[in-house]
């Protein structure tokens, strides 16, 4: 008999690029998703929970983020024994599944179909610091509404969502741009070659990083980037490149000035004029609903997603400063984006279906609230009933049941009760506000000891001996008064 090889122990590790979320992190995210869902619902949007797994065929390859050209999906082939199975994949966003759902169920769905969806999505890409391969999205889209009134509604709803989760008015702005205006600019430039148009689109996408001078260089001969590498340019002349720069920098002092600048930039292009008209209409619609430009603004410098969307494009940016890893001040930046994409459903049905929507990056939004110190403070842990006599567990569990029935979060210590110090250490690790002690003496006297752990910690940290004596943090009360005393302590700390 061959010597048996011992199976090595499996490594207890998440796969690379994945992580676990604990306690308050989970509760905070659930609360935020719930708050956003309420706003979406209030606007008449209905919930949709599509399957996390799609056929690769249905999913297609429509990743909206052009800065992640190599972003992939997690995919595998079905094992059907005799014949080759379908390729399946985890959804990489909530928009591609919406297109599939709408094409599959359109006869049963109202038109227009307003839907919201929230849940994890997966990207098979190189993980980086703070960049995970599973993250949450929270989307709302309107399918089948050609009017830009739908876009205006989305922008208003996005502003409401941000305020609902705790971003103060003035700390965010929803910026709106329009792909059609850019198309008009390209038309004016006489760029008919699709390759050149795509090259211009890719270049514009770098506007955030390199600014207008950088874009000018990249549209022309090229540019030496920060790493010292030379990036080849698109090869346009300065004159040819000028309309693009005019477009990107056309934001004026007010909406009217911005629109006038845009009209100048698109010259006689019909599609360009249509784009400017749409922006004008959106501005008028949100203004009529009371949203000023400090909340929703027309801003042609928003370029993220311009290559992907077909009409209006939205981006919500947080405008307050945070300190980055190096201690430098910078704006928090984008937490949500979206726009109009009229061709997604067409892949399935052959018919163009107008659609517009937004996706809120919930994890980034939570990070923003934490950076502002506005995230929920850690909720207190449960009241811990300690175990002084293992044989009396039934009594302790009955005490806990009594506390819970009184609406108080509570638990009995379930580790080895031998070392009482470990029980208090446990209560500390759990963030417990109160510990309850009932040993043989207390039981005989019909009392319980109630330790105020919050006060105890305060006293231990700072009190003088005098204060210590004057402010006891442990109370002996009749067993019948346990609930009342615990509630008194909890109320004092809340």
């Amino acid at each position: 008999m061959a010597k048996q090889k011992k199976t090595p122990r499996p490594k207890a590790q998440t796969p690379k690029g994945f992580r676990d979320y604990f306690g308050i992190e989970v509760v905070e995210r659930a609360a935020m998703l719930d708050a956003i869902a309420r706003v979406y619902h209030h606007y008449g949007f209905d919930a949709l929970d599509s399957s996390a797994v799609e056929t690769v065929e249905a999913l297609g390859k429509f990743l909206p983020d052009v800065d992640r050209p190599n972003a992939g999906v997690f995919a595998w082939q079905e094992d059907e024994g005799d014949k080759p199975g379908d390729w399946l994949a985890l959804r990489y966003d909530l928009t591609a599944p919406l297109a599939r759902v709408y094409a599959q169920h359109k006869d049963d769905l109202p038109t227009p179909y307003r839907r919201y969806a929230m849940g994890p999505v997966w990207r098979n890409e190189k993980p980086g610091p703070g960049r995970f391969r599973q993250f949450y999205q929270c989307d709302a889209d309107t399918v089948g509404a050609p009017s830009v009134a739908a876009d205006a509604e989305i922008c208003a709803m996005l502003a409401d969502c941000l305020e609902t989760v705790g971003i103060a008015r003035g700390d965010y702005v929803v910026r709106v741009n329009n792909r059609k205006v850019l198309n008009g600019v390209l038309e004016v430039m006489g760029l008919d070659d699709q390759g050149q148009r795509d090259a211009v689109l890719r270049t514009i996408d770098k506007f955030d990083k390199v600014g207008s001078d950088g874009v000018r260089q990249l549209l022309g001969k090229g540019r030496l980037d920060a790493s010292g590498a030379y990036i080849d340019g698109v090869g346009l002349s300065d004159a040819q490149a000028e309309p693009v720069i005019a477009f990107l920098t056309s934001k004026g002092a007010g909406v009217a000035e911005t629109l006038a600048n845009l009209r100048a930039a698109v010259g006689g292009s019909a599609i360009g004029a249509e784009g400017v008209d749409e922006l004008e209409e959106i501005a008028a619609l949100v203004a009529a609903q009371g949203y000023g430009t400090e909340r929703i603004d027309i801003d042609p410098s928003v370029v993220r997603g311009l290559g992907y969307y077909t009409g209006p494009v939205f981006e919500a940016e947080l405008t307050f400063d945070i300190l980055d890893e190096k201690g430098a001040k910078r704006q928090f930046g984008s937490v949500a984006g979206g726009g109009r994409y009229d061709d997604l459903v067409k892949r399935f049905t052959g018919q163009s279906v107008p659609a517009t929507g937004i996706s809120i990056g919930v994890d980034r939004l939570l990070a923003a609230l934490r950076a502002k110190g506005q995230a929920q403070v850690a909720a207190p842990g449960p009241v811990v009933v300690t175990v002084m006599d293992r044989a009396r567990m039934a009594d302790y569990q009955a005490m806990v049941a009594e506390l819970r029935q009184a609406g108080i979060r509570a638990e009995v210590y379930l580790g080895n009760p031998k070392n009482f110090g470990n029980q208090l250490k446990y209560a500390d690790k759990r963030g417990s506000p109160v510990a309850i002690i009932e040993g043989a003496d207390e039981q005989a006297a019909g009392v319980v000891q109630i330790k105020d752990l919050v006060l105890g910690a305060q006293i231990a940290a700072s009190a003088t001996l005098e204060e210590w004596k004057e402010r006891p943090s442990q109370f002996e009360v009749p067993r019948a008064d346990m609930i009342a005393k615990v509630r008194e302590i909890l109320d004092a700390h809340s």
Copy 2:
């Protein structure tokens, strides 16, 4: 140049065995998960959201349901270019990830660690009617508590969860059995051969289907099953098989009688006696917390999971009758199960870590509430503001904003407004309680028309002409009274 082949359109279909959930289904499930999470939290359990993707190595193959021996996982290999990548898989339950999480993070977690988790899990198995490859679980487990007080707590919490989501007391029972008692029985039988023990375990698992006579035949020579096929037996004599039958049928009129029957069945086996002691302790602990046997009962006929768990086993069954597809009455059956499994973490660390928990099948529980007619009735749709004049969209959106600010779910019609009938059909499909109409005449007169669609439908369905005249379902009110009138109608129908 070769003739270009047209790419065929992708099929708009979920993969086989997957489905989408719409509107009220999503909201109902979210509400149920939320209600259960509150109970778990109230018992001192903390939230955990582990990644949906695990390494196949970490996941292992520990599917608890012995009736699904071929259940598989969705797995794929990481593409790391030069070297073979890890195999990754979607989690098939929430327990295997918990073992990995605990082994990975145990230094940072309290001991005992009480955690709850909820979310989708995936099974790569043949889909069937009503059986999907993605479904929701909602688990609570205590890791690191050896005492059966932890098991008793789980049972009490499970009963509380069921009542919280709307299962009335008397309509469910949490049944408790113990794997150690069965081990004692096997010891008494003198079955030392692991193969034979496994065969007995597999046979016991069929008790639900074939009853005690069927089990007796299967433990002996074999049995002709319903399809006419002959199933080979384990080959035990009737005398040898008798302790198993005694165990399975040992439920008496009360807990004391059941325990006495079990003591007789395990004879002099030490492990068997330990198992019966544990059941006795659990019964005493839940009784002390006020849970009678109509809520939590000792029942040795619970066999599901006995092969997987190492100590106490729990199952929550709904005891009311429903009508099956054929119109026959049957009990709804199991909606939650769990037990003690002391070896899961050992795979990673080499040390045995006691753990116990439950998993609630949320989708089955929702189906049960629907079967009882207790599920949430469909919430009303939004108030729909119709569009009489496309050029006045800003006014209509402002009306909608006003309604929303008053706390009323509302939307403007965003389809093609040309055909007014389509707008009312849309409102009907949306389940809207109220439609608002403001054409040129109304605007000039400073009024709006408010249609009570619920009353309108009632009248249309049943009213005589007289009643029709007497009970108008459309009201003309001054524009300033719009909110008040809408609220009045909504209140009348709620």
